[in-house]
Symmetry: C2
Subunit: 438 residues, 2 copies
Amino acid sequence: MNGLLTDLYELTMAAGFFEASKTNYKATFEFSLRRLPANRNFIIAAGLPEVVDYLLNLSFNEDEIEYLRSLPQFRTVSSGFFEYLRTFRFTGDLFAVPEGTPVFAGEPILSIRAPVIEAQIPETYILSAITFPSLIATKAARCVEAARGRSVVEFGTRRAHTPQAGVIGARASYIGGCNGTSNALAGFQYGMPVMGTAAHSWVMSFPREAEAFRLMQRTLGEYTVQLIDTYNTLEGARVAAQLGKPLRGVRIDSGDLLATSRQVRQVLDDAGMHETQIMASGDLDEYRIRDLVDAGAPIDSFGVGTQLAVSADAPALSAIYKLVELDFGGIHRFTAKFSEDKETLPGSKQIFRDVARDVVARSGECGRGEALLRPIIIDGHLVEPLPSLEQARCRAASSLDRLPASLRKFEAAEEPWPVIYSRELKTLAEHTRLNMSQ
Amino acid sequence: MNGLLTDLYELTMAAGFFEASKTNYKATFEFSLRRLPANRNFIIAAGLPEVVDYLLNLSFNEDEIEYLRSLPQFRTVSSGFFEYLRTFRFTGDLFAVPEGTPVFAGEPILSIRAPVIEAQIPETYILSAITFPSLIATKAARCVEAARGRSVVEFGTRRAHTPQAGVIGARASYIGGCNGTSNALAGFQYGMPVMGTAAHSWVMSFPREAEAFRLMQRTLGEYTVQLIDTYNTLEGARVAAQLGKPLRGVRIDSGDLLATSRQVRQVLDDAGMHETQIMASGDLDEYRIRDLVDAGAPIDSFGVGTQLAVSADAPALSAIYKLVELDFGGIHRFTAKFSEDKETLPGSKQIFRDVARDVVARSGECGRGEALLRPIIIDGHLVEPLPSLEQARCRAASSLDRLPASLRKFEAAEEPWPVIYSRELKTLAEHTRLNMSQ
């Protein structure tokens, strides 16, 4: 399953390693971020369950193997390689930081140690499976920070890059602190809260707004939230208020949200509907939420769609998955890349998170603080069940609380979180460079 | 299948329509783009196969129905609704412009006519399933235009929003004119060309670059493309050239691509390797490709990853799916939305594409030029097989050829493609507005 869901070059390299009789080489690859996107001071790690599921089920079926055999690139590859793929499984080790952990550039947040082909093939899948939910969890955390205690709900499946990505994104946004999602499948699959009541089409389906509102109230009872801006927002608010309780909330999806929310609050209060909440949606992001909250807009809940679903101002992460160490017949070789602007550090590593900095050390070193990379899969088997979604969400919230306030701002901080390399690691890097230039 | 892969509000509205005894109302919804993203003068429509597959298989299984029943929002909904979901199928009609068609803002590019619940539930899925591949096909077309005959290959799965989205994106990039993809599963599923040979880890796995290159050549023969920038690009080029033929190409993935490609070309030519091609990759997009081509860089093929895989400068489309017409017991009602900045036009429509403009007319009208909206599904059944991927790709290429050159530029054109509304349509809109404000 999923064997072909990778870049072809992972598979041509696999053939190359096989043909070179190097299938028993043990390789260590590390996943890290080259740099953080503009205006980001941390990234919330997410997506580990997809990586685990992928590694535990990675295989090739007959049709997939036949397909590879038919490609011109594999024309001269020996049939032994295709036999090898038939029983191919991931038998190695996976280490990773737990979901919900804030991470920074230049530190390994996931590593794989496995026979070289098994470690190489997952590169493409892992890069995508980690970066996307991490971007969404991060964007969500920013929106939640901006809302200062008001509710933030993820509304973005319709903008996600495939509906299925919307489900993964909804989960990630919950890790980042959103209170729920509009995505019903995410609720079903992950047990997270789901929200949403009606679209404009509901109101437009009836000759009069009042009839649409009355029927919604009859269907949803105390969960009724009326969408009031189909024709005229204030008139919509009056119609909703006149129908009386139950009316959990009204939603505004257009116009000047500050001015309109104030007028709508007045209409509701005048009708004695003090408990009825105001939800706002429509092109919101952390900056617009911050401005609305700063201006004192009487909005109780923000529905965030497009900007959150694709992390619109930072839709990709500069993540890499690099070979750092090779082990064959008892001989270790450390590897690094020295091309322009794209250097990497050799050797397998650990991150120690202390009160006010991270130290990246060689994996055998001792360090102060929490060792962030934990064993997830050993010898192809899951070590223990992954933390629950709620645990990941709590970890994100408590970790963010401990970050300096300057890093939780919405622009790049003057002083980023310090990521320091241990002396042993720097020495190894220097030796490796000297070795390779000989 | 997939019944829950939608926003919850589609399902609460479904319950509302059911409780209001309106399941037999026929509704027409239209999908359109409110506006084009910055720097875009067209969007290449793509994603129709996913929509068709979704509609033909849309259903709810027992577990999904039990989940809905357990939600507080559905607490007072009658059990008849859950019975209704048990046999729920899409029995309506789908009309859409063929894949590969350039489309513009303010025109319906897909429409659904079906019993109101069947037309409402697909909203979320359809919006995502069309916008994402359309964005990627468009971005690909821009890169291909910039490359002026040189090859463009899609390399972006690792940056896609989930690996599975990478497969959909690879297909869309082929519609947009890319010559192939790095995604092996896309090759397997869609029969499109796949490309790629080695990553830096391949080179780093061997003590000497020459050994890595020799083994790659032995494995891939005439398909060998050596990645030459792991340590020092020019040295890498010399090592590759010294090994001699076969050497289809060398790839450069870092540094100043203009200067480096010239130096590498010199090294190759000096070694008599005139047929060996140069591939470039690394943070490319249509603008960088244009600049490299304008400067005469001797690059034969561009590998485009991040910027293409997420359409980084325009990662979302402002697409809407709006109710335009309701039909119950022989009575037609036309619907539109008049909220601030978010108006829509009533009634089901057709687009007529003439030589130099589109006319959007009421669906019964005659018009000059090609009628773009075609029947795809009627009464829940596929009318005929969809055009092949190759046909969609050809349609995109020939349609783009016919567009004015100013629209194929990489910035917003001074004169966008004219989208004109027929007199009948404008009259209907005016009547609808007057009717609703009574």
